[in-house]
């Protein structure tokens, strides 16, 4: 287990409001990590910083064996480093079929000419079928993603994440809109993915987090309030005050 991602001393302000305040988190590879915290704690913003969507005012974000600074890379470069993201509000390409969504996500060369000239490798289609089976969308492969239910879109986005075969998966509230059975399946999926990679899951649902059975980081007002096993953090007085007690 070695450190894959190191976020240290990061702060972000939006119009003077400090959304992230001197935040430091380390993620190992492989690792499964749950991030919890009340609304507005900065969980999504934390992911925005790692993926290059938001530039922090100060601090460092280092990646991989060579400790590359992610802050100097663009969004697409960061993604190509092996960081995949599932958004809080499911964002799939609604006008395109489930198969097309997955095909676009598959780990393959990303340049325009690579994409234009390298067409329809049979392996790719096999891989798409495997992923579709895993996320339960085999029947829906030919359907437009826009026709899917909220839960199915969540699945599709998880599938797109798996298709990218990233080293680090950032998963923002994957279980929203899912039935209890689907939630259970999601936990299995994430746990399996975390055997070989780093997976960071943001979730509000405590039952979900409990099933993940992993190290938990509690965020509050943009910094880490507590870190450890779920039992450990839920006993923490501060955590009870700001989050669980309400």
């Amino acid at each position: 287990m070695s450190t894959l991602l190191e976020v240290s001393g990061v702060s972000v302000s939006f119009d003077g409001f400090r959304a992230i305040n001197n935040l430091s988190i380390q993620i190992a590879e492989p690792e499964l990590r749950a991030v919890i915290g009340p609304n507005g704690a900065g969980k999504t913003t934390f992911m925005d910083i790692i993926t290059g969507k938001t530039r922090p005012d100060e601090g460092r974000v280092l990646w991989g064996e060579k400790s590359v600074s992610l802050l100097s890379l663009s969004e697409s470069q960061i993604a190509r480093q092996g960081i995949g993201r599932k958004f809080q509000k499911p964002t799939v390409f609604e006008a395109q079929s489930v198969r097309e969504n997955l095909r676009m996500s598959l780990k393959n060369p990303r340049g325009p000419f690579d994409v234009l000239l390298a067409r329809g490798k049979p392996d790719d289609e096999t891989r798409i079928d495997e992923i579709a089976a895993e996320i339960g969308l085999t029947e829906a492969l030919g359907r437009r993603a826009g026709e899917l239910s909220h839960g199915q879109k969540q699945w599709l986005e998880v599938g797109m994440l798996l298709a990218q075969d990233p080293r680090l998966l950032l998963v923002d509230e994957p279980a929203a809109g899912m039935t209890p059975a689907e939630r259970e399946h999601t936990t299995d999926l994430l746990k399996r993915a975390a055997q070989t990679r780093a997976v960071v899951v943001v979730e509000h649902d405590m039952e979900f987090v409990r099933r993940l059975n992993c190290k938990v980081t509690v965020l509050h007002e943009g910094s880490v309030l507590a870190e450890g096993s779920l039992d450990h953090v839920t006993k923490n007085k501060d955590v009870i005050d700001v989050y669980l007690g309400r």
Partner: protein, 425 residues
């Protein structure tokens, strides 16, 4: 299409190895329709047929095909990639200028050679060049060849300019604009500024392209002085049809498969495409430049049929019309662009050419030459508000009626009218 029988979980049709065109019925239908149209015009023209269509009408049709080609390019850049470029007619015009320079030079060269042939002392190459220069630039009070005419004596080089100049301009402009993530309305305005600047530059006499006189006599093809215009017109009509066919297939290929997915993804949510690891700017630049090159080729075929090109052709409004055609035809589908361009431009020449009878309201006479633009503007607003899919959207109605609803979990057979089967009578 592969049969959808026996589609169970995990079923996947075998990879389709047929050629690209056969796999895409809409491309095939389009090519068939274009072939039938070309054949029909050929049989009705003066040079190769019964002479039912006048030479000038054949030219109009040939020009229309070129407009269809640039509209297809516009559809790819706007309808598929989401870049509302309001400058693509500038590339079209540059293509026209590039070929026009050779046409004017080579024809003037022949005329000068003829007139100097009578002189006792054979003229030196310099004298010939000076004579050509004063012939071409006399109208702007100059006789020196400006540097931009450096390649004008060579057809291959000038043909290269047809693609190279629009391509390079698009590449540089696009690189500057996309790199700084200029998008949406700001990008549209920037493209308008580009075409306006270009037109204003060309209007100047010292731009070296004869200012507001533009280039003329382009319908006379050097070396074919003896050939009559009816033959030339049908030859250009064929060339335009071929170019449209090739361009259509090229773009249909580009917007199919994974490339098409990425490009449409950029249109719908470019940030999401970035987070998948695609460098969105390179894709935009690729599409912008490729469509600009095709626009240049379309222009190079158009202006020999029009006979004249001047800076007004590059005016910002021309590019706006292009967007209107694509919107009216239905963006996001290539045949929609063709329909829009053909329909609106032919209708426009009918109205403005005095073809449409004036309507007498008693108190007021509607002259279509004045009112056509207002009608066009109103129909554009109408299409945008009430039929965003444009004329091409009508094809969806046909398609929807033909294919049964294959969704849902009813019935034994995936291709059947499942809901009907499941219903108990």
């Amino acid at each position: 299409m592969a049969t959808t029988d026996m589609a169970g979980p995990g079923f996947r049709p075998a990879p389709d190895r047929r050629p690209f065109i056969l796999r895409n019925p809409s491309v095939m239908y389009f090519l068939a329709a274009l072939a039938v149209f070309t054949l029909g015009v050929t049989l009705l023209s003066e040079a190769t047929g019964v002479g039912f269509l006048s030479t000038s009408f054949v030219k109009t049709l040939g020009k229309t095909l070129c407009l269809c080609l640039v509209a297809v390019a516009m559809d790819v850049v706007w309808g598929y990639c989401g870049i509302l470029s309001l400058g693509h007619m500038a590339f079209f015009g540059i293509g026209g200028y590039a070929i026009g320079m050779w046409l004017m030079y080579a024809r003037t060269e022949i005329i000068v050679a003829e007139s100097l042939a009578a002189s006792v002392i054979p003229p030196t190459p310099d004298e010939v060049r000076d004579a050509i220069g004063s012939q071409i630039f006399g109208v702007v009070g100059a006789s020196e060849f400006p540097w931009v005419w450096g390649f004008a004596s060579s057809l291959p080089l000038q043909l290269l300019m047809v693609v190279a100049v629009p391509g390079l301009l698009a590449l540089v402009f696009g690189w500057l604009a996309f790199r700084t993530r200029v998008a949406g309305v700001y990008l549209s305005i920037l493209t308008q500024a580009m075409t306006l600047a270009l037109a204003l530059y060309l209007f100047q006499n010292d731009s070296g392209l004869r200012g507001n006189n533009g280039l003329s006599g382009l319908q006379n093809i050097p070396g074919y002085g003896e050939t009559s215009q009816d033959v030339i017109s049908i030859a250009f009509f064929w060339a335009s049809a071929l170019a449209l066919a090739l361009g259509y297939v090229l773009f249909a290929w580009v917007v199919s498969g994974k490339m098409g997915s990425v490009v449409r993804g950029i249109r719908d949510n470019e940030a999401r495409v970035r987070f998948l690891g695609y460098h969105v700017e390179s894709y935009k630049l690729f599409i912008f430049t490729l469509t600009a090159v095709v626009a240049g080729i379309a222009g190079a075929l158009y202006y020999p049929q029009a006979g004249i090109i001047n800076p007004a052709e590059l005016a910002p409004i021309a590019s706006i019309y292009l967007a209107v055609w694509v919107a009216v035809g239905g963006r996001g589908r290539l045949y929609g662009a063709v329909i829009g361009a053909a329909f609106v431009s032919l209708l426009s020449s009918w109205f403005t050419g005095g073809g449409a009878p004036a309507i007498n309201l008693g108190f007021y006479r509607i002259q279509w030459t004045d009112w056509w633009l207002i009608l066009l503007g109103l129909s554009f607003v109408g299409v945008t508000l009430f039929a965003p899919k444009g004329i091409g959207g009508l094809f969806d109605l046909i398609a929807e009626r033909r294919t049964p609803d294959r969704t849902g979990d009813y019935g034994p057979n995936d291709g059947a009218w499942r809901k009907e089967e499941g219903r108990e009578e």
